[in-house]
Amino acid sequence: MTGFQFSARHIRCAAGLGLLCGSLLALPAYSDDEPDPTNQVGPNPTLPEPIQYLVPPMHVAPVVGWKQDEKPTVKKGLQIQAFAKGLKHPRSLYTLPNGDVLVVESVAPPGAAIKRPKDLIMGWIESMATSGGGTEGSNRITLLRDTNGDGVPDVQDVFLDHLNSPFGVALVGNDLYVANTDAIVRYPYTTGDTKITAPGTVLTPLPGGPIDHHWTKSLVASPDGSLLYVGVGSNSNITENGIQAEKDRAAIWEVDRATGRSRIFASGLRNPNGLSWEPQSGALWAVINERDELGPNLVPDYMTSVKDGAFYGWPYSYYGQHVDPRVMPQRPDLVAKAIPPDYALSSHVAPLGLAFYTGTNLPQPYRNGAFVGEHGSWNRKQFNGYKVVFVPFNGGHPDGKPQDVVTGFLGNDNKAHGRPVGLALDKSGALLIADDVGNTVWRVTSASP
């Protein structure tokens, strides 16, 4: 702690600022005329000036769930059915080589200590957005087996239980890796298994508690199986838990599968999820949740190819060199290195799932591109996200605007029936969607087979 040097000059300065902030306080808590966020997609999103609020715009959709026979709406040429219902907060999906689908059911780790009055209020607001019925018995993986491919599982059984807020899954040979919030754990797996009872072995510990703000650890294995890539989200919105809490976070780690040794592959990625390989270029891609509370249209969440050793800005800057005034001390040296991401998905849509389409079930327009699961916004008055979009690709790069493919998670009454999270393709090439508050896995297929 340095000593105070509070001179008369500082006091005069403070008095001047007092007049200034008097005018700032006259600003409304939030404005109803939020600019349209649909021009914030693609490689060059419009970035307004940051706004700091007395009370940030907040609008959370209360969860009502799906009634019998209610389902999301799909674009023409597609159809959607529930693949499995009655799950416990399904967050991500993984298809095994024999076609069995693993549903990772997971809830946030126990609440972090209350550090300031705001944590009390935000905790209450978050509980509204995630209250999709009881989550007791979650933190497990359920196996779905659909032998004849009719979209109705013949087996729905608990595959692996008593996990610690799991999210990512990756199979390499007979080694099944589960990314719990605090470690990558390896389990033995034999094709056809419907249950794993063997204890897991920790391959690599990951940053978990005690705060664990962004707790989902997305996981993917390299094509040759020698390396694992894991997304480690930041421990705060924008360093309000102290920069010490961010050690090795807001990054994608590369883990050596043989030894468990890890290194930071890329950093400055606030909350990276949906780690996937782009099939044409072979590049690693991810979807990233950007920072909140700078306005309804800041900062756009994005998808990007992730370059080895690259720094993408968080916390010091966003979209390249746009400095965030909330971070102190600032780091101009790091800001100078920050590179902008490839493709904006609009502000606060909260992308958590990414799946490049490599199947042949869906119609031709979906054969080259990526589906993105957008969990939906809270930090703006008008909802954004709450849908699955398709981003067309060409030559390994996004080519065109995102198209709404699966909507209706948000009802006309602005209540949430469900919220899409993780995506996967099943063996037949159908798109699977984990719906955490709807406690459902949806299956999208071509309308005319």
């Binding site: 702690m1 007092g18 007395l54 009370v55 009055p117 705001k118 919105n237 309000e240 102290g242 909330r326």
Partner: protein, 127 residues
């Protein structure tokens, strides 16, 4: 009210410390001090209104009101200050939060000086 005002003065000190150190712990202290000061301050306002309307304190005129009025102004300023302090990290304090903390303390000092200089302090009895 002395408790609430002590909280607001404390918040200025922790704000200053955060300004010099950028250590989030001090900003968190400020947020709690403002929160506690607001809770106690609102209770004081309710108690004072009850006293006023039940005639337990006389409706005297003049500088005798300077300290409670000053405290009320500090309370209102601190309400907005608590909102500013609910922002994340640096700008929850610098510059607006720190400025509001300073304004609240300056108002309290002026009110205290004004009350003291006229030698009237009956209001102390009702706190």
């Amino acid at each position: 009210m002395a408790v609430a005002n002590a909280c607001f003065i404390g918040a200025l000190l922790t704000d200053l410390t955060y300004w010099r150190t950028a250590e989030m712990m001090w900003a968190d202290f400020s947020a709690w001090l403002l929160f506690a000061g607001l809770v106690v301050g609102v209770l004081w306002v309710i108690a004072a209104l009850v006293d006023l309307f039940s005639g337990r304190i006389s409706r005297a005129r003049g500088p005798v009101w300077s300290y409670p009025l000053g405290s009320l102004v500090a309370l209102v300023v601190s309400f907005f200050n608590a909102l500013v302090h609910s922002r994340d990290a640096w700008t929850s304090v610098v510059p607006t939060g720190l400025t509001l903390s300073a304004i609240a303390v300056v108002v309290l000092l002026l009110a205290g000086l004004l009350g003291w200089s006229t030698g009237r302090s009956q209001m102390e009895a009702v706190e």
